[in-house]
Symmetry: C2
Subunit: 218 residues, 2 copies
Amino acid sequence: MKKVAVILSGCGAYDGAEINEAVLTLLALDRAKADVTCAAPDITQKHVINHSTGSEMEDEDRNVMIEASRISRGAIQPLNSLKTEDFDAIIFVGGYGVAKNLSSFAFDGAQYDADPEVVDLIQQAHKQAKPLGFMCIAPVLAARALGDKGVRVTIGNDPEIAAALEAKGAQHVECPVDEAVVDEENRVVSTPAYLLANSLTEAEAGINKFVAAVLKLA
Amino acid sequence: MKKVAVILSGCGAYDGAEINEAVLTLLALDRAKADVTCAAPDITQKHVINHSTGSEMEDEDRNVMIEASRISRGAIQPLNSLKTEDFDAIIFVGGYGVAKNLSSFAFDGAQYDADPEVVDLIQQAHKQAKPLGFMCIAPVLAARALGDKGVRVTIGNDPEIAAALEAKGAQHVECPVDEAVVDEENRVVSTPAYLLANSLTEAEAGINKFVAAVLKLA
């Protein structure tokens, strides 16, 4: 039974983890009988978005890990408690939470940085040759942590985001919604998911291939 | 293309809509190429639960519809704006939100009542012979609105909840997690989902049959 850590960045596409991506990932892992641990940083969200209007709820303060536990039905670990040696693979789900809570990409664009705990986790897993999966916008984390390895990733086909990844040393590969890109050398898998998906079934096709590729490397 | 309204009660198993149930329902509907409208009551949640600890977050106030829109990626209608004649079927997803925000079942047990807007919607749809689906704990709503019709539903096998439904005039039918119960006469479908499911794949099996049965009646 493969042990997989799934990293969430809150609960909701516009300020946290993309819920459909998270559930489809957990579903694919459950079908493959993986042993899953969900984790998220125990930090305050950068902001809270009213998803029905798109506007910020300025009086709200929410914690990334507590909100993420809504997706996992309660079971969640603080990100900084994870030991990479306890897992066979680590998957980062997408959503704006990756660009807001796990990195500064939503605010700083190409000049972004990522949370030091996240960078450490990725670099530690890479040193131990553990496969890593990055969905949707999460390849910004891979580029920050593994840009010096020339990591190959996809964020679909957005030239501006691709340029930001390449500025960190990553190689961007265009990829349709129903496929995944595998960097065999760095043991890194990525898929565009809701950067391109127009429906749950479109997202599911790519996510299933992505999860299968991560588990194959594990 | 079948038009289906999916009714949510927030975002999170312990104070809102069960997220896995919601996504699996939307996935099954998307595979069937249904045209989906998500809706939720525009009311304050009864309370907010920290899902990582199970305890109440007493200083938090959240709106059922705004939180539900996290699951639907923004697209949500207030429940009281729905016109049953615009839809071919209506599905109520489960989660404690049904027992807390759409009814008082979590607080009042067998003496529970349901939100008048919810009762009206169900009775209106029933009069128009529209199929109705109730997942997980949502059959408490069916029992309240259609108990006088002797509606046949399942909540799995919990004798106490079953007795509460029967006190309203409903007939309870035991059902395993991977099946759905169809009341052909009342055009009502139900499935236990996370009242019994121990995993996403277990929930998915019953939810797929449930959605197929609702669409078959539509």
